[in-house]
């Protein structure tokens, strides 16, 4: 099964989502992230969804769940690169992604994470 690769930049983990995610890959990603946060003592997670065209409530819940989970390990999650069409659809759906911060791209996301230390 395909797994979404998790890169490491210092104390931050970077996940770039490129494909139309199937459920089992989504669940695997959550598990892998939890493991990696602990294994690397990461203080931040960036999830780059620049290439993601559709975020439905399942994916949205996953993103919020990653946020909550990372906070349990005292790490912060930033979702970056959300497409305008996706944002407009999410607010219409009523999903506000509580518990995650957002940034326009990975660079700003990193700055956001480093700013807090």
């Amino acid at each position: 099964m395909e797994r979404v690769p998790i890169l490491r930049i210092g104390k931050t983990l970077l996940v770039t989502i490129q494909i139309d995610l199937q459920d089992d890959i989504v669940m695997q990603l959550q598990e892998d992230l939890a493991e990696q946060i602990v294994a690397t003592s990461a203080t931040g997670v960036i999830i780059d969804i620049t290439a993601v065209e559709i975020v439905d409530s399942f994916i949205g819940r996953m993103l919020s769940a990653v946020g909550s989970m990372s906070r349990l390990f005292d790490a912060e999650t930033v979702i970056v690169g959300m497409r305008p069409a996706v944002a407009i659809t999410l607010v219409e759906l009523g999903l506000s992604l509580p518990g995650v911060r957002t940034a326009i791209n990975a660079e700003k996301g990193l700055r956001l994470l480093n700013g807090r230390t």
Binding site: I79, M82, P84, A87, L90, V91, E92, R101, T102, I104
Partner: protein
């Protein structure tokens, strides 16, 4: 516009007098449009229509009738584009009746079939009218959309600070356009602050407040802050009495206040030179 095989006589008659009918029709149409359309252009248009009319009178098959509708529709649209009113276009079609009548007047045995023929031409004329109306309505719809676009500009107030001054009512169609423009501007400029100025929005009720909330949430999903400015005293009163809560969304009385606030949040300060 059905002409079954019992009306073959008038079809034959018209075909036999094709050149005369076409020329006379052309004359009548030219007299009405004057110099706005050239004689060659008219002849070309009428010849095509005439050919299809004759075919659809004698054939049992639908293809000639279908083509005729399409050609008349196109004629109507092209005249609409060139500023002709629908009466002129329809009258042009109706004048085919006059051209044929002038010849048929001397043949009393064709009188009965002529009436059916005339009715068919009436339908064709009305068809051009319907197409005309549909075309004009599309133009109106396009212009309305254009106006909507024009009245929703995104301006750059400062590095990293964009603003949308809204003028007019905020309905869901407008909200969607505002969101699209603001979000695209955020992507293009990387701005981290946006201001939605509602000085020009006449009323803020619960529905409008929900639209504003949606817009703010969308901006936040792209990593920017959104401030609402232009809260006039009367609006503030309405908002409070309706029980609308803006929660953690920053709201300011004027665009200037919102700019100062955004500058502060960006770590900047305005001071004397």
């Amino acid at each position: 516009m059905q002409l079954d095989s019992g009306h073959g006589k008038i079809a034959d008659f018209i075909r036999a007098n094709q050149a005369k009918v076409l020329d006379r029709w052309g004359e009548l149409v030219q007299a009405a449009v004057g110099s706005r359309i050239s004689a060659q252009e008219i002849h070309r248009e009428l010849e095509e229509i005439f050919d299809l009319v004759v075919r659809s009178m004698s054939d049992a098959d639908e293809s000639a009738r279908g083509e005729l509708r399409a050609v008349l529709g196109e004629l109507s649209r092209s005249r609409a584009r060139n500023g002709f009113n629908p009466t002129e276009t329809a009258m042009g079609v109706f004048s085919l009746k006059d051209a044929v009548y002038e010849l048929v007047a001397d043949a009393p045995d064709l009188a009965g079939e002529y009436v059916d023929f005339a009715r068919m031409v009436d339908d064709l004329g009305l068809l051009t009218f319907e197409t005309y109306t549909a075309a004009r309505e599309q133009i109106i719809a396009d212009q309305a959309e254009f106006m909507l676009e024009l009245s929703t500009p995104v301006v750059r107030l400062w590095d990293g600070i964009i603003a949308v001054p809204l003028v007019g009512t905020l309905d869901s169609a407008r909200t969607q356009l505002v969101m699209e423009k603001m979000l695209n501007a955020l992507v293009d400029t990387g701005a981290e602050h946006a201001v939605l100025d509602i000085t020009g929005v006449p009323t803020v009720d619960t529905e409008v407040a929900q639209h504003l909330l949606k817009a703010v949430m969308a901006v936040r999903l792209l990593g920017a802050e959104c401030t609402i400015s232009g809260i006039r005293p009367q609006i503030a009163h309405t908002i409070v009495s309706l029980g609308i809560e803006f929660g953690d969304i920053a709201t300011k009385a004027t665009l200037a206040d919102a700019l100062a606030y955004a500058l502060g949040r960006s770590g900047l300060r305005v001071g004397p030179a």
